[in-house]
Amino acid sequence: MLAGGRGQGAEAELSMPVIAVLGGVAALIALAAIAIAIARTGPATGIVYGASLVVSAFLLGVALFQLGTGAGMAPSLVLPLGLPGLGSHFRMDALASFFLIVVNLGGTLTSLYGLGYGRHETWPARVLPFFPAFLAAMNLVVLADDAFTFLLSWELMSLASWAIVVAHHEAPANTRAGYIYLLMASFGTLCLLLAFGLLAGAGGDYAFAAIRAAKPGELVAGLAFVLALAGAGSKAGLVPLHVWLPLAHPAAPSHVSALLSGVMTKVGVYGFVRIVFDLIGEPATWSSMVVLAFGGITSALGVLYALMQHDLKRLLAYHTVENIGIIFIGLGLAMAFQANGMGWAAALALTAGLFHVFNHSIFKSLLFYGAGAVLTATGERDMERLGGLIHRLPHTGVVFLIGCAAISALPPLNGFVSEWLTFQAILVSPQIAQWGLKFLIPAVGALLALSAALAAACFVKAFGVTFLGRPRTPAAEDATEVDRCSLAAMYVLAAICFLAGVLPGFVIDFLAPVVRDLAGARLPPQSAMRWLSIVPIAESRSSYNGMVILAFFLCSAVLTATFIHRFATRATRRSAIWDCGYPVVSPTTQYTSSSFAMPIRRVFGTTVFQVHESVKMPGPGEMSAAHFHVKVLDPAWRLAYGPLARATWMAAQKLNGLQFLTIRQYLTLTVSTLIILLLLVVLWR
């Protein structure tokens, strides 16, 4: 009896982290309920975001502690809720812990940002109850250890976020965004439902442990993989399933946009990793090729879409698509290496992909906060109506610039490290035997290189047009800096961009348990490397040291500036703009977002997007204004969704006739359906 008691005690101790996280989730759900009651009162915004901040920070602490110390442990818990005979399983292995960190780091800082930003909300009652519910749902998805709980939480996540997307449904664009989001979310869940159904098999045991233990046949594994890619990919924003993303993400209030873009897409990635790497197990070569191809296309198209935008938030949303592509390239490479039994290379590629998951959640949140700050300060999202904000919003300008540099993969910030690791993974791939992959991987590498360069162009545009130059409208001219809470959240994220870029070895080591669980191997411990360099394979092969680069960089910049100021001159005079001797006063003569992107639009856009530019000049003597119009078509709408919508409409028209039959005809239909089904059953046996 004593032994039994001790055993129970040890078990309870083992599941403590799960209980802690579930407690946090329960607190968030309770908060959502409270928020419904108090949303119309004055201090509601402060209470809800403050409480979410505390709970998320607690959850973040638990997840950090679990990943940092619980090496190889996977605390789990079964609650007698949910389906009879199944219960709700929860488990917190290394993968779940890592994604809990991503979710709750985003949640914590978004709550902090929301403390300031949320005050400007015109309809707080439409946002406040759903915000903690959304956070709770994302935590539950990551924690779930059976298909039922997973799907239920996944749907809760979709619905809670949908409610925030349509919070401002007065604007017709937002309603449309919400409608398309709902459609795509249902499609994704349907795919996941079928994938789990296939994996659970005829026995129908939906616990992940059972699915993991049952090795699916080749056909079932293949089908489940395709369904998981479609289901999780639609949430993450894989081309061509990305169409809802640039509509829905900008429609939400900016802090929730940050959560949608920075965090929820990562939960989509989590779903894919969980099903494909963990539940299905050993990947097939062709499946890695599919992931790589979609990843490469997504990364290149995503950044090209982003370059064509002039709405700041929509640009950021489209750019998320690119980063999802980069993450999926890493995952696809890991699958290819795994299929070839190259565990160490799979570990490298997986580390690159997961590192980018972390990085993107950081800098995309930062940039959306920045866009929110611009929106608060000016009421504008359209870059063509902004400009010169660096003078009016000095702090936001600094952090937004750091975010832009980080997302453009510039050393010594964090975005560069994950792209560098991906490139290193590509460079070990000639050892792969399959010819298909031998041709595909260099092509994907070229697409990745292209998207890295275009990303820099995209963010020179985003920062240059919004923050530099001269203000284009009075709104931009009269902007004032945003509140301290918002700034604090942005500064924290900017600091993480720096730290993860300068000391990437610690992040890689932190990821090691996750990678070891999934790929069966890990990178050599990086914190043991001298001078804190990162050395993914061997010292003779490649190494990078962000800290030394930063030190050199700062030293040479400061030395040069000091030398010149000390020994040459430091005299400075302010004067009017020179502009080759013909300064034009009007700020409309500046380069705009559209004109900045024009050369790239011409070069890449005419074939990909069927860009159509038209100029309408007034005739001689006419007093009307000239018009310039650019039409950019998303090929996904043209090639996939347009035909699909038309086909659905046609089918609906045809089937409409079935609604006006006589009772005799209905009975005939019913009976014949029954007979056909019975026949099928007989034949199947």
Binding site: L410, P411, P430, A453, G469, F552, S556, D579
Partner: protein, 327 residues
């Protein structure tokens, strides 16, 4: 890196001096190389041309002039020259010039050096947009077009060389090219071809850009820095000269590293290696204007053809190496 641990203080100082020598070597040689290209170009055009030392005097003179800033110039505009210069200088100091395996050669590989140049370009393009003139905008916009075509090509060149040498460390690549029987390879030939195209584009030379022009329709680099004056302009000019030497050094390191010191350094080997390096730089500095005078400046929308060619050549080289390591 392993070197550092089992090294006496004296050796460490020697290694530091070797790294420092490289750092200041590229800085001091940069204006000279620019002067040589200008002189050769002038002679080819049957002008006498200025002294090869003129770039030194220009930079010195500009450094002592007061900087004139537009009223609405922000801190981005004021700090960008130093950031551009620092990024270019760090990148140039990490490319092996006269010896492999210098003290800090492991801190950045070829991909990181390409990315450091991207950092410099990012700062330059933002500086071009800071004051809010149409010229700055046109320069930045075109610069980003060129870089979006040239940078992927450059990365594919890096892939090619890395696949041949089995490493992305520049120092190890140079050592591999010197010691191993690499031979004449199709892939390296294609990479060299692509590298020359990319180098021409990145350094704003004809046929992509004209460093001597002030004709608005043809400007790219000059348009971005149009508003700069005084010490800021001096630093930018120095960075441009450094970038040229960086690309020369990179070409030498990747495709013609013979004559570099790969083992112990002595004063004799040092002298020879430095002499060989400077001689190679001079050959390139003479060859560049010869190539430039032979072709005409291109229209903007012909750049994609020029750089797309480089991209295709480099991509072909990578494909060949994926098919077989012996290409």
């Amino acid at each position: 890196m392993a070197l550092i641990d089992n090294m006496s203080v004296q050796d460490l100082l020697g290694e530091l001096a070797a790294q420092g020598l490289q750092m200041f070597l590229v800085l001091l040689l940069a204006p000279l190389m620019l002067g040589v290209t200008r002189k050769v170009k002038a002679r080819l055009l049957r002008r006498r041309g200025p002294s090869v030392l003129l770039p030194y005097r220009d930079i010195w003179k500009l450094m002592h002039k007061e900087a004139v800033l537009a009223h609405n110039a922000s801190w981005v505009y004021r700090s960008a020259p130093y950031l551009i210069f620092a990024a270019t200088w760090v990148a140039a100091a990490l490319v092996p010039t006269y010896a492999t395996g210098l003290l800090f050669s492991w801190s950045a590989d070829l991909i990181a050096i390409v990315a450091l140049l991207a950092t410099a370009r990012f700062a330059l393009a933002l500086a071009g947009m800071d004051v809010g003139t149409a010229f700055g905008g046109i320069g930045s916009s075109r610069e980003m077009l060129i870089s979006s075509l040239a940078e992927p090509a450059m990365l594919l060149i890096a892939f090619t060389v890395a696949l041949v040498a089995g490493t992305t460390q520049l120092s190890a690549i140079a050592a591999h090219m010197i010691h191993e029987p690499v031979g004449l390879r199709v892939s390296l030939g294609l990479a060299l071809f692509a590298f020359i195209f990319v180098g021409v584009a990145e350094n704003a030379r004809i046929p992509i850009d004209n460093p001597a022009t002030h004709l608005e329709l043809t400007m790219v680099h000059e348009a971005m820095v149009l508003e700069y004056s005084g010490r800021h302009l001096a630093v930018i000019e120095a960075a441009a000269a450094l970038k040229l030497v960086l690309y020369f050094s990179l070409l030498i390191c990747l495709f013609a590293p013979f004559g570099m010191i790969t083992g112990e350094k002595s004063f004799q080997t040092l002298g020879i290696a430095l002499g060989v390096y400077v001689a190679k730089l001079l050959v390139l500095a003479v060859a560049l204007p010869i190539g430039e005078t032979a072709v005409a400046k291109m229209r903007v929308f012909r750049y994609p053809i020029f750089l797309g060619g480089a991209f295709a050549a480099a991509a072909l080289a990578v494909f060949l190496l994926f098919v077989s390591q012996s290409f």
